[in-house]
């Protein structure tokens, strides 16, 4: 779908009557878009807007809480990073988004267009139904004709406007020489209007204007529910691109210069500062640093990088600036290959046929054959074209998949709402159906089963003075281990001249002695003995202490795994981390099958192998390295702490920090699926009763309207009946 830049895309009388120039949160072409993943209340909105508006170079800023985004209209050229820094100072976490990579405006326009059609159809249906009630209660002769003509005057333009999605859908299906649910819908609407006009012109008794427009209304309601449920699900590849660093610092002749990443080429020398994400694949030219690769590989421990080290786009520099010579840019980077992996995997998932489509494949041909038979039968019996066409129209209207069109979206919407209150966000329309079939659950380790944030293990065991020195040294650094130490709190020693040695640690002077906090070999003994996560405090007088860290399991993981097992599901774990760390986590979580050292492609391969065995796989993951697996799995879930790209690639997002809800979500999915089948059955029963009446020529417009409304309302009510027992 292409973006519609025109602010008034619709041509209808209502649009001409309504102003469109309101100050609203919608992206203008030169707006800066920021993602604010952690905002959740009015205080966050106020703080973020106040902080942005306080800048002299910001003309206006508006936060959209639903999308968790800020739209900033700058005066002149404002780098997004400066805005991110401003927000960080105000305590709001922000990431720059590349507005050209997002197509949300097209989605917004489609949603508004659908809602507008629904409103027009509702208005028209109400008025036509009012006139029809007058006809059914006994209006005759000229009065009846007048009511029919007024109904026609309302229904014809309304259907021409509201029915467009169905006509377009039917045309697409017919051009591709297949039948979809839209074909019987479009045929029923057109035939009903045609025969009704004919009848009205001959001042006949029966007109189906009310049926045609009510049909539109109910079906549009189903479409809109479906759209709303899916609107949250944006394309994974889109968001991956938007997440990429839009700007980089290129060094030309020793002078740093801010340039868009798109302008970088192989051989350029790029400076990446602390906390920055590396924009290209490359080799380190100058500097030493530690890199957080957890989003790419799942490794918990930051990796040291020195001159000559190979680095990849998407890694974050946690200490010391780095100068990098680019070896691959743009589409050739490892990050982009991950995006490609997602695109390929998504194509695989598209093979899933939703229940509604399977029902349509059975239903559409049957309806057409039935209507054609009814027409042919009456044509032979009476030889009267008018009667035969009327009967055929009645059959089509009564069998029209009105209730079928509501059966799935109504259940999905009700179940999504129920799950949302339990902290689970369903993004894909068919996720619940697919979830109901799952028999294998695959977990990622870092950040999914574990919290992804190191915690100090042996704080009390470290000598008091070493603790105070460690605290003082740690406070000056953004390294994850330092942050973990700072989080312990307490009194810090008075340490002077603190400086960070990139790639090694932090050092300073305490009581005239040089003290260090850092990696083994620099602050502690050369060989630490084992590979567990730790750092050393060197008190400078031959006294060294070891501070151990662990990446803790999220609370409740063990119970969740047991509950999943009890529900008859297989549980496995896949991680890019080292075998020892993976085995320890697997044991703590009670998972007996674990795969370590998995590359992103390995994870996808594992899922495909399981699928080849006929398994239905639920993937739970949070990193960039999981996006391919998330997209390849039959259905996928990511925690809210996951990167946007992983959240976008998955069908469901868990808003809380615990997986307690997971077994319940699976139960709910099963219930929703049963409810959908039930709805199909209800719709069929209505048809079985009403169709013989229509074929026998006993179906008046009153009976058609009753059957249609009653079945639609029963189906909706059945969907809303509590999914939770």
């Amino acid at each position: 779908m292409t973006a519609v830049p025109d602010p008034r895309p619709m041509a209808c009388p209502g649009c001409a009557a309504a102003p469109a120039d309101m100050p609203v949160a919608v992206a203008q072409p030169d707006d800066v878009l920021l993602s604010l993943p952690e905002i959740h209340c009015h205080n966050c909105i106020r703080d973020a807007e106040a902080a942005l508006m306080a800048r002299p170079d910001v003309a206006s800023a508006r936060v959209n809480l639903t999308l968790k985004r800020a739209y900033v209209t700058p005066v002149g050229d404002v780098p997004a990073d400066a805005l991110v820094t401003t927000l960080a100072e105000a305590g709001v976490l922000a990431h720059p988004l590349d507005p050209t990579a997002l197509q949300s405006r097209a989605t917004e326009a489609a949603g508004r267009a659908l809602l507008m059609r629904l409103a027009v159809a509702g208005f028209a249906a109400m008025n036509v139904m009012l006139l029809s009630v007058a006809v059914w209660s006994g209006a005759t002769d000229a009065t009846r004709d007048m009511f029919h003509w007024i109904s026609a005057a309302i229904a014809l333009p309304a259907v021409a406007f509201c029915g467009q999605p169905f006509f377009a859908g039917a045309w697409r299906a017919l051009s591709a020489r297949r039948l979809s649910m839209d074909v019987p819908i479009a045929l029923a609407i057109l035939l009903a209007l045609g025969t009704s006009l004919w009848e009205t012109a001959l001042s006949g008794h029966h007109a189906y204007f009310d049926a045609a427009i009510t049909l539109c209304f109910f079906l549009l309601a189903g479409r809109y529910l479906e759209f709303r449920t899916r609107a949250a699900a944006r394309s994974a590849a889109e968001e991956l691109t938007a997440l990429e660093v839009p700007r980089a610092t290129r060094i030309v002749g020793g002078v740093p210069l801010d340039v868009p990443v798109a302008e970088l080429s192989v051989g350029d020398v790029i400076l990446v500062r602390v906390g920055g994400r590396i924009p290209v694949d490359g080799r380190v030219r100058e500097g030493a640093a530690e890199l957080d690769r957890s989003m790419l590989t799942g490794e918990t421990i930051p990796v040291p990088a020195a001159v000559g080290s190979v680095v990849a786009a998407g890694e974050t520099v946690v200490s010391g600036p780095l100068t990098i010579e680019a070896t691959a840019v743009g589409r050739d980077t490892a990050l982009h290959r991950l995006a490609d992996l997602v695109a390929v995997a998504e194509a695989g998932r598209a093979r899933y046929t939703p229940l509604a489509d399977r029902a349509a494949a059975l239903y559409a041909p049957g309806v057409h054959i039935l209507a054609a038979l009814a027409w042919a039968g009456w044509m032979l019996w009476t030889g009267d074209m008018r009667v035969a066409l009327n009967i055929a129209a009645a059959v089509l209207i009564i069998t029209c998949p009105c209730a079928l069109g509501l059966a799935v979206p109504a259940v999905t919407t009700a179940a999504s709402g129920a799950l949302f209150r339990r902290g689970v966000l369903i993004k894909s329309a068919t996720a619940l159906e697919r979830l109901a079939e799952v028999d294998t659950v695959l977990f990622d380790k870092t950040g999914t089963l574990t919290e992804g944030v190191p915690q100090v293990l042996n704080w009390e065991a470290v000598p008091k003075d070493a603790r105070q020195v460690a605290l003082a040294l740690a406070r000056g650094s953004v390294h994850p281990l330092s942050v973990a130490i700072s989080a312990q709190g307490g009194d810090a020693a008075q340490v002077d001249g603190i400086r960070e040695v990139p790639g090694y640690g932090t050092e300073g002077l305490w009581r005239g002695v040089r003290v260090r906090l850092g990696r083994s070999g620099w602050a502690g003994p050369e060989d630490a003995g084992d590979a567990s996560l730790c750092t050393w405090v060197d008190m400078g007088v031959g006294q060294v202490s070891r501070i151990r860290f662990a990446d803790n399991l999220r609370p409740g993981v063990r119970d969740t795994v047991e509950a999943l097992r009890a529900a008859g599901l297989d549980v496995e774990m896949m991680s890019g981390d080292r075998a020892a760390a993976v085995a320890a986590t697997a044991q703590a979580a009670g998972i007996d099958r674990a795969h370590a050292g998995c590359l992103p492609a390995d994870k996808v391969a594992r899922i495909e192998a399981l699928q080849a065995q006929g398994r239905r796989v639920l993937m739970v993951g949070d990193g960039l390295n999981d996006t391919g697996a998330l997209a390849a799995a039959d259905v996928s879930l990511s925690p809210a702490s996951a990167l946007d790209a992983a959240r976008v690639a998955s069908d469901m997002v868990l808003l809380g920090t615990q997986f307690d809800a997971l077994p319940e979500v699976l139960r709910c999915a099963g219930a929703a699926r049963r409810r959908i089948t039930e709805n199909f059955r209800i719709a069929t029963i209505y048809n079985v009763i009403a169709v013989p009446l229509a074929v026998a020529g006993l179906a008046t417009p009153l009976i058609a309207a009753l059957a249609m409304s009653a079945s639609s309302i029963t189906v909706s009510l059945n969907a809303m009946r509590g999914i939770w027992r």
Binding site: A18, M22, L65, A119, V120
Partner: protein
């Protein structure tokens, strides 16, 4: 039955007023950020005077 000549246009007009009202809220994008709008009402910053 002559009263119909007034009542039908009147009822259609009233319906149309509702429709145009709805289209106005839609065109002015009041459904764009339902979460944000429901939170913004809790903000006390502009309780005493309108936002400039």
């Amino acid at each position: 039955m002559n009263v119909l000549a007034y009542l039908i246009p009147v009822s259609l007009m009233l319906g149309a007023v509702g429709l145009i009202g709805f289209l106005y809220t839609l065109r002015s994008r009041q459904y764009e950020d339902p979460d944000g709008d429901s939170r913004r009402i809790l903000d006390e910053s502009w309780d005493d005077r309108p936002k400039p």
